[in-house]
Symmetry: C2
Subunit: 306 residues, 2 copies
């Protein structure tokens, strides 16, 4: 019976102006899966972590990832998964994507790597489909591949991995409030002014260029969001005041992580990022809201065996 | 009396999904200005070319470029300009921008280079303001700087120069029909669907990445336009049929140049680009429309002394 232990990292989706098309991988925190394959048919999932998981495997994002993998491979197997999840659902750093990416990567290792990294992203997206209702790639692709990822388009899936600067740190605050993805999407307009769209894609171009040039100042001034943020920031108490504080303290930028309510800021070094994290926590405490803070390096590493 | 002879190249604006934010420089064809400065105050412009120019210097794009340069420098001078213009107005390859860029570059040479290349773009934009009613940079910046240019934003002006692939050729057809910029802008919607905007900025990100990766296939599949083209193609007889023909012949992409009615296609080598040019001309002839064809290399060179 072949066994493998795999890790996939936390990720941030959207990256400001990269709404629905960009994401990036973070270091250290992630989900770990111990996986094995044996003869038979079926999936067994054991939870060895503090993070609560659904008992029904049909509700676990790992299940559709494994099934889509085996279906494309044309093989039967019984897959055992022991989950050591470190990312809490709703924390805004790609909880479902990390488990999905780890499952896709682990399956490929168990079966002698039949699929390309892009194909693994497609399997991981099946986990996102279960979690969010749509098979988006903006968390799943960086969780599999690492780095900053641009999803140019979906028909066919066209994923571009961008290099990330060294010494580039992300502070994420997860406020203990609940905003569902559905709620967060419901406030978005169906139509936007052409002039606003042009501002957004000018910034998106600058953001992609910033990653290639390893120019963190350019990344910071380009990573602005003029389309979704004006509608979504209402869910995050004191959003504008927090942004003002963080920029004054030297953060390169501050944006909503994915569909929120978590918020992230980027910094040029770890010490600055830790200070930004403290300010985030204090700011929310002043609003009467508890929070978790994560300070992590932006990473070019994705899923891997450990 | 100091004299200088300067050249600035033809340019293509918009580059498909880079609507209002991108442009690139072409090789060979461009405008040449012989400029000199003497004591006094005023501007004399002589036309030594076949291209008709307005007799009134207030209507020549060169005038506001020279005036804004001298105003910022805080100097008086009488500037003489002898114009050898090679780009016909309305040809869709940045006629006003080439003259404006050459004037800005020439002034900087005459006065011992007091200004940065970005500042020269700002002077050249004053020519665009006279020609088009708005001081846009998507032709002016590549005409000054060369290469592919992203205008991330205007407040303040933030210009990013992208590298261009070697052996990358552009075929431009200038159909002998008149579509004013005003007319071409009037058909654009004020609001666009959010989903369409996301498609466009996914492509724009891919286009910027394609230039950095020197990946002409990626440039080709990303250089699509889903916002303006559906409204503007009505001005170009047989637009869809022409695109189908060119893509079938191996063109990487086909788009409207600037606000039209010229159309350009990109190819991986000169021979292919020449063939694409012939097909363009034949296609328009079949519609009863005469045209000029330009086949030029995409260039990393902007304005220069010659």
């Amino acid at each position: 019976m072949k066994k493998v232990t795999v890790f996939a990292p936390a990720t941030i989706a959207n990256l400001g102006c990269g709404f629905d098309v960009m994401g990036m991988a973070l270091d250290e925190v992630g989900d770990i899966l111990e996986m094995s394959a044996e003869e038979g048919d079926g999936i067994s999932i054991v939870n060895s972590c503090e993070v609560p998981l659904p008992n029904d495997i049909e509700k676990n994002v790992i299940t559709p990832v494994i099934r889509s993998f085996l279906a494309k491979l044309g093989r039967n197997a019984h897959i055992n998964v022991d989950v050591k999840k470190k990312i809490f659902p709703g924390s805004g750093i790609g909880s479902s994507a990390a488990s999905s990416a780890a499952a896709a990567y682990g399956m490929n290792e168990l079966f002698e790597r039949p699929f390309s990294v892009e194909e693994l992203v497609e399997f991981a997206m099946e986990g996102e489909r279960l979690a969010c209702g749509s098979a988006h790639a903006d968390n799943a692709a960086p969780a599999v591949m690492g780095g900053a990822i641009l999803v140019r388009g979906y028909n066919p899936l066209d994923i571009i991995q961008l290099p990330v600067p060294d010494n580039f740190y992300c502070s994420v605050v997860h406020p203990h409030i609940v905003v569902t993805t559905k709620e967060s999407r419901s406030v978005l307009p169906n139509q936007i002014p052409l002039s606003t769209a042009i501002t957004q894609w000018g910034n998106l171009g600058g953001l992609v260029a910033g990653f290639y040039k390893s120019d963190v100042k350019l990344i910071g001034r380009a990573m602005k969001e003029v389309v979704a943020e004006p509608h979504r920031k209402q869910f995050i108490p004191g959003f504008d005041a927090l942004k003002e504080k963080l920029l004054a303290e030297g953060a390169l930028c501050m944006n909503i992580s994915g569909s929120g309510p978590s918020v992230f800021a980027l910094s040029e070094d770890k010490k600055a990022a830790e200070k930004i994290g403290e300010i985030m926590k204090l700011h929310l405490k002043e609003q009467g809201i508890d929070s978790n803070i994560y300070v992590m390096k932006v990473s070019d590493k994705g899923a891997k065996t450990i």
